[in-house]
Symmetry: C2
Subunit: 221 residues, 2 copies
């Protein structure tokens, strides 16, 4: 079994990549790393997992060429190795969205209850922003916002939505985004804002996709 023909050898390599994507925790790690580079410890804290566990999954992702590591003093910073990783994630997600009834059930049961409107596309958002018609809020935690956000967006983490709303006054047109297309926070934000009297919609997906589309990104000073 150790000598293989080249076709099988290649397929084994492709399978290594797919297998590395085949764990929910690793997918969540990829979503977080798509926001920006993270140390093992920081990632473990974000995910509420033991450090050793995250470290081992990071090794698996590295063996599959999905993440790359860079040592910086005591810390090792991991980041996505290639933009093609996001395409692969999106493609897998696309199959699941189109074909798995359970995905449909989850979307209907949770997400549609919070926002069943068509999300705003990137193009639409750019037009709305240009004309000053909407306020764009980034509902991710402050550290993720600092690593890169849509130009003109203001950072309103989910926990501060209510306070921000009362400061800003009612009746605003708001567009919210966060980590990606099914990131829970922007759905929660939209639901909260609507109940507070605003007209709120979501951006079609999050920061990593914005960046991948080649659009400008603003980084905190």
């Amino acid at each position: 079994m150790s000598i293989r023909n080249p076709k099988q050898a290649l397929y084994e390599q492709f399978a290594i990549v797919a297998k590395a994507l085949g764990h929910p925790l690793r997918l969540e790690m990829i979503e977080h790393l798509a926001q920006g580079a993270r140390s093992v410890e920081a990632l473990a804290a974000k995910l509420g997992q033991p450090v050793a566990n995250i470290s081992q999954h990071l090794q698996a992702l590295r063996r599959a060429g999905i993440v790359s590591a860079e040592r910086d003093g005591k810390f090792v910073h991991y980041s996505l190795a290639d933009a093609s990783v996001l395409s692969a994630f999106a493609a897998v997600r696309g199959v699941a969205e189109r074909r798995l009834a359970e995905v449909d059930r989850i979307v209907r049961g949770y997400f549609d209850a919070r926002d069943d409107m068509r999300p705003v596309t990137r193009d639409e958002l750019q037009a709305l922003m240009r004309d000053g018609l909407v306020t764009l809020i980034d509902v991710r935690p402050t550290d993720e916002f600092a690593l890169g956000h849509v130009p003109g967006a203001i950072n309103v983490p989910l926990s501060e939505i209510k306070a921000w709303s009362s400061r800003a006054g009612a009746g605003m047109e708001v567009v919210a985004y966060c980590r990606g297309p099914w990131c829970v926070m922007s759905f929660e934000a939209v639901a909260a804002l609507r109940s507070l009297g605003h007209s709120a919609r979501r951006l079609e997906d999050g920061m990593p996709e914005w960046r991948a589309a080649g659009l400008p990104v603003e980084v905190a000073a």
Copy 2:
């Protein structure tokens, strides 16, 4: 552990799809099913595997929404459930090609030895065909050719390359294609044709990608 938040529930679904792609045999099954629908038995014969094994892997692929089944009398015909499956396969392959050193090693060691020229793109092929400058050969087995091929292509299975070459005479400009970008047969065909005095190149990828690009497909009567 049975109650999950919706984010984790979604990621579990995405992981089911990725996990189903995470086995070399299942990837090979997908490549074959991309040529056209197959019964369990036919697929098992193509892959040289026991029927029960193939049946179980097909169940796994079906649970992941990757293939769909249709009963026709005694036979159950499986086919790819959605065009997005090919995108997902291609995206995973892209990560592996870009990031895994082992893929590079295999390509250099086997494929480049048979054809290190830049393959012909689909656009280039269409122009060459229009002007009658090349002969296009489909080196897949006859049954796969019959299920759909590039218009104007002639079917020359790999085993018949030599006989065809002597019938056709030397010095021809030939373009060859088969099942996909790393399908071994077109590499072997190009190497054989060159050693027989022809000017041979490969098409950039195979029949499924041609079809997915929305180009016309010819089906045997």
